[in-house]
Amino acid sequence: MILVSKEVKTYYLGGIMKKLMGLLAVLILMVSGCGKEKSSNENSLKTKVDGGELIVRISQDMDFLDPHKAIAAGTYEVMFNIFEGLLKPTNEGKLVPAVAESFEISKDNLIYTFKLRDGIKFHNGKDVKVEDIIFSLTRISGDFPGNSVVRDLAKNIKEIKKIDEKTVAVELNKVDGTILSKFTTAIIPREVADIEQSPIGTGPFKFIEYLPGQKLVMEKFSDYWVAGVPTIDKVEFSIVKDEQSSILSLQMGEIDLYPRMGSAHIPTLESTHNIIVTEQNLMQILSLNNKVKPFDDLRVRQAIAYAMNSQEIIDTLDAGLGKPIGTNMSPVMKNYYNAETEGVYTHNIEKSKKLLKEAGYENGFEFTLSLPTNYRFHADTGVIVSEQLKKVGIKANLVEVEWGTWLKEIYAGRKYEGTIIALDGKIEPYDILNRYISTHSRNFMNYESKEYDAVMKKITQITDEKTKTDLYKEAQMILAQDIPVVFIMAPAGIIATNKDLRGYTPYPIYVQDISTLYFVK
C-alpha cells in the first residue's frame, strides 16, 4: 500500500551539479596557485627585542629527565639548556669551563683538579658547593637506587678528593687522552630528592613542566652565571614525530624553530621563513655485513663503492646541500677531519664491473637491503641505491623493517646483509671512530682490522693534541681504504625558523642551544 500523497513536487536540480563542479575547480586552482608569491625582506631594519616565548619542534621524546640516567640522543638535545657539567662543549666543538672556572692536569695525566666558579647558583637559588660536584661524580658510578647505569668516566675514577671550599681533584686509574669530554656530565644539587621529577641544574633555563609525548617547558634562569644570557623568557619543546604536521605548524606560525627539516620543504618555506643550512656531525652509511658473503671480499665492497653515486643521492634527496664523505667523519669536525679520504672511491662503472669480475661475480649477485621504516630519508636512499646498483648487475631487494626490529635484529643481532643508517657524531673524535674497533659492542658492520685497532689503542695513551690529530687522520684513511661500509654523505642540517628569530648557533653535536637566540621586531 504505497501511501505518500502524490502532491510531492519533484525538484529538477541539474543546476546544482554544475555549481558543485565549479566550486571544486576553483578549489584546486587555489591550492596549486598559492605557493608562489614572494615576500619582501627588510631584515636590516628590525631591532633586538628582550624576552618573548619560543616554541621549538623536536621529533624524538626524552627517555629520562635524570641526566645521569638519560642516554637517548633526543634527551641531551633538550636538557643541554638545563644541565651543565664541569666543562661545556662550544659550537666549534671545543670544551670550555662551565661549573668549573678552570682546571689543570697533573704531569702524569692522572689527576685532574677543577676550581669551582664562584657565585654560580642552582635553579633552586642555592650556591653550588664542592660537595655537589663530588655527589654528582660519585652518582655516575651507579650506586644510587633505581638504576645502576655505569658511565665510562666512572669506571676510570680511582678517587675524588675535596681540596678546599673551591677546588676538587679527580684521580684516574690509568691515563686516558679522551677522558676530558666525559667531564661534561651534569652537576646536580646533592639534596634534591628526585631529580627525575624536578630536574635542577645550573644551565641558562629552569625546568617548569613535562607532559610525556607532548611537550617540555622551561623558562629563563635570571641569575645564570653568564650575564645577560639568555634573552628568551619561556621555551616550549613541542614533541611531534610526524614531519608533515610540523611543516604545516610552521606555515601556520605555531612553531618558531624546527631543526633537522627535510630538504624537500625548502621551496615551500623559503619565502616565509629563515632557512639555515649547516653541516651536520652525521654520517649516512650503506653498511655491509663484513661477515656475510660476498661482502667479506674487499673487492666486492670496492665495486659497490664505485657503482654508487653519492652526488645523485644528495641532489635528489638533500637538494644538493649534503657533503659527500669518504670516511666515518663529518667535515664539521674541522681540526680532525681528513679531507684526502673524499677522493678514494669516486663513481666509476667500469672499475666497478672490473672488480666484480675479479671477485668472481661477473653477472652480479642479489642481496637484501633492510631499511628502517621511521627514517624516510634512508628508505628513499635505499630506492636510489638499488637503482644505481642495477647498472652493474647487483640486485638489491628492498625490505622495510620496523624500528624496534631494526634495533634488535640488525643493530644488536647483526643479522642482515645490507642496511642504510646514519651515525651521529660526538664532541670527542675518539667516540666517533671507536665503533669500528673489532671488539666494540656496537660494531654491527663486523669490521675487523688489526691495523685500525692498533692506531685507536695508541690514541688513548697520549694526550698531546698534535700527535692525536695525526693518528685520527691515519685511522680515517684506513677506514676510507678498507671501506667496511660505503660512506654516502654528511646530510646537511636544515633549520627553519620564524622570520623574526635570530642568533641560531649550530653545534657539531645533537643539541639545540636556546641561550643565544633572540627575537627582533
Binding site: I2, L3, S5, V8
Partner: protein, 312 residues
C-alpha cells in the same frame, strides 16, 4: 445524501496504465449503512482510499466524489486535511499495526481532538474518556495510559473506532474492520457500529468480503466484481445477478450437509487481464455471446434494486 460518487475511475501507472476501478457510481444517504462487498482485488479498498484521497504516488483518479454537495477532488490539501477525521473518518483492517506503537492509546485519541476542536487540554481528556466509555472499553483510566501492544486486538479496534467517532463525522468508512478479529469480538464490534449508527445517525460505508456479515448489518449492499458494481440490493434474499447467486451458494450451509461445497470456477481476472464486455462473462454460468462484447448498464429494476446484466 451524505456522499455521492459519480463515474469514479482509478488508474495505476506502473509500466503501463492499468484501470482498477472503472466509472463506479453509488451514493450513501444520511444515517444509512451501505455495504460494499466483493472478492479481494475488486477495487473496494481503493474506492475507500479514493474518498479519503490517500491513494499512493503512482495512482491517479478521475470522476466526482460529492460529499455534502461538494466535489472533494477539487479541495486543496489543507481543506482536505480539515475534512479528514472531522467530516469523514476511517477504520482500518489491521488493529495490530494501525496504531503508533510509541504513543499511548489515550494520547492517540486526543490527537484527533486537538487537531479539529478548540477544546482545552482538560476538556480533551474528559471527552477522550467519554469516547472510550462509548466504545465499551473498561477500566478507562489505566487503558488511557497503556501502549497499543498492551491491548488485545478487539480493544485496539475499539480505540480506532473511538478515534473515528471523536468529531461526530458525517461519514465513517470501515474497511474490513473485523476481518483480523476472532468471531466473538467480531460480533461485539458489529453491534457497536450498529449502536453508534442508531445514536449518531452518521452514514457508514462498510467494506467487507463476508456476505453474511454485511447481510445483517447493512441497509443496502453493493456487490463489486473486477472494478464494477454489478448489483445493489437491500436484502440478500432477492439477489438476481448470477455472480451474487454464486457467492451465496458458496456460503457453507448446514442444510446442504454431506454434499460437496460449491465454488465458482476459474479465478478473478487481474487488472491486466480485464477485457471489454461484462467482467464476469468468463466465469458466468449463463454467459452468452453478447456478454463478452457489451458491458451491460447498471439499470434500476423494481424499487431501487440496481442490476448490471443483459439476461436477468
Amino acid at each position: 445524501m451524505t456522499i455521492e460518487i459519480k463515474n469514479l475511475n482509478v488508474y495505476f501507472n506502473e509500466k503501463t496504465k492499468l484501470q482498477a476501478v472503472n466509472n463506479l457510481s453509488f451514493n450513501v444517504k444520511k444515517g444509512e449503512i451501505m455495504g460494499l462487498v466483493g472478492e479481494s482485488g475488486c477495487g473496494k479498498s481503493l474506492t475507500s482510499l479514493s474518498i479519503m484521497r490517500l491513494l499512493g504516488k503512482n495512482a491517479s483518479l478521475t470522476g466526482e466524489i460529492n460529499f455534502l454537495g461538494e466535489n472533494i477532488l477539487n479541495l486543496s490539501k489543507k481543506e482536505m486535511g480539515s475534512l479528514r477525521g472531522k467530516e469523514i473518518s476511517m477504520i482500518f483492517q489491521e488493529p495490530l499495526t494501525a496504531l503508533n506503537p510509541l504513543h499511548r492509546v489515550g494520547k492517540q485519541i486526543s490527537e484527533i481532538l486537538k487537531i479539529h476542536t478548540s477544546l482545552s487540554k482538560k476538556e480533551i481528556k474528559v471527552k477522550t474518556l467519554d469516547l472510550m466509555q462509548e466504545v465499551n472499553l473498561k477500566d478507562l483510566e489505566n487503558t488511557y495510559k497503556k501502549f497499543p501492544h498492551e491491548l488485545s486486538g478487539g480493544q485496539r479496534q475499539r480505540i480506532i473506532i473511538a478515534m473515528a467517532i471523536a468529531c461526530e463525522p458525517k461519514l465513517i468508512i470501515a474497511d474490513e474492520p473485523t476481518t483480523a478479529l476472532d468471531v466473538s469480538t467480531q460480533a461485539q464490534i458489529i453491534d457497536l457500529l450498529k449502536e453508534i449508527n442508531n445514536k449518531k445517525h452518521n452514514s457508514l460505508l462498510f467494506i467487507s468480503h463476508d456476505l453474511d456479515l454485511v447481510g445483517d448489518l447493512c441497509h443496502r449492499i453493493a456487490i463489486m466484481y473486477a472494478g464494477h458494481i454489478i448489483e445493489v440490493i437491500e436484502d440478500l434474499k432477492d439477489a438476481k445477478h448470477p455472480y451474487t447467486k454464486c457467492l451465496l451458494d458458496a456460503i457453507p450451509n448446514p442444510l446442504h450437509k454431506g454434499n460437496e461445497l460449491y465454488s465458482i470456477p476459474g479465478r478473478v481476472p487481474t487488472l491486466a487481464e480485464r477485457e471489454s464486455g461484462c467482467p464476469f462473462a468468463g466465469r458466468c454460468p449463463i454467459a452468452k455471446e453478447r456478454c463478452h462484447k457489451i458491458l451491460p448498464e447498471l439499470l434500476e429494476r423494481e424499487d431501487r434494486h440496481l442490476l448490471r446484466c443483459l439476461y436477468v
